[in-house]
Symmetry: C2
DNA sequence: TGATGATAATAAGCATGCTCACGAAAGTTT
DNA sequence: AAACTTTCGTGAGCATGCTTATTATCATCA
């Protein structure tokens, strides 16, 4: 493992460091990476249900609910009751959230520029495609049982 | 953002899904992904200090300390006092941890096989190199202040 | 209509990362 | 030796993921 680095661990490290760097940059604005992701998706899907948004972002609805709690408390988003379904909420940005979008987008750009320094546009495109393939492989795999019959008796 | 997927978000998603899938597989053995990483590094560095191990894995010492607390409670590792430094511990695997190593390595292999299905060995090698470059960019960047002078007055 | 099942959101509790802060011991300087 | 500084490990507290379970509401079908 330490001799030749394990690609999964490196991938995990990169994700962790990306988040860390992004948050070093964004702390001053009161939004974390995850909250920024919510805001970004929400900005082009205002009026969406929590469930649908969780689907889009591909996180569990409860994970999103917790994020929204914080973002609502800080005045970035608003939950309005759905007149057609008393169980559900409709999600909206508050006016004060709008100006943040450009700022955060720029923070993301800067973090990416640091991270991908030395990578050609081609290489970045290549990387993106590879990652999308892996992601779809994993989304598929995660729906399947992972019981490992050969090993379960060990 | 939803039109062309953001490479940082995809990368984050892939890392999250890799962890999720690995843990679906490994839950039966009582080790999480992070704990397995500790075990893997430790298995080739027995007798190491916590600080040095945290450096190797590139996590904060406090994060490692928490992981070790759990792993010690479950009997996977052992902290022995360092005779030369009363502040420090030396880390060792317990006998019962050894047989797990091969099992977990195989779980990692299976998870990777699922994730990287459809990627040639070349493409995987390419990906690994790209990720290592990005990681080293980020490790460098994270040590630098991230104050964003143009934006701080917004 | 009235029971039965699905769905929207949340609660509880765990794991893993972080920052910030602190105590104890070690090392260094005066 | 005494006073500073550094280092080792950890406590407290937060954020974001997850699994599992619960409540309220909606939809369907007998």
């Amino acid at each position: 493992m330490p001799s030749s680095p394990n690609i999964s661990f490196v991938l995990h490290d990169v994700a962790r460091l990306l988040r860390k760097r992004f948050e070093q940059r964004s702390r001053a604005f009161g939004l974390t990476r995850a909250q920024w992701q919510v805001l970004a998706y929400l900005s082009v899907h205002e009026g969406i249900h929590q469930n649908k948004l969780a689907d889009l972002i591909e996180i569990m609805p409860i994970t999103l609910a917790r994020l929204l709690d914080k973002m609502e408390a800080r005045g970035f988003i608003e939950r309005r009751p759905d007149p057609a379904d008393r169980r559900a909420w409709l999600l909206y940005l508050t006016p004060q959230a709008h100006p943040l979008i450009e700022v955060m987008r720029s923070n993301g750009r800067k973090t990416r520029d640091e991270a991908f320094a030395g990578l050609s546009a081609d290489a970045q495109q290549q990387l993106l495609q590879t990652l999308c393939l892996i992601k779809s492989n994993l989304l598929e795999a995660c729906t399947q049982p992972a019981v490992d019959r050969e090993k379960v008796h060990v």
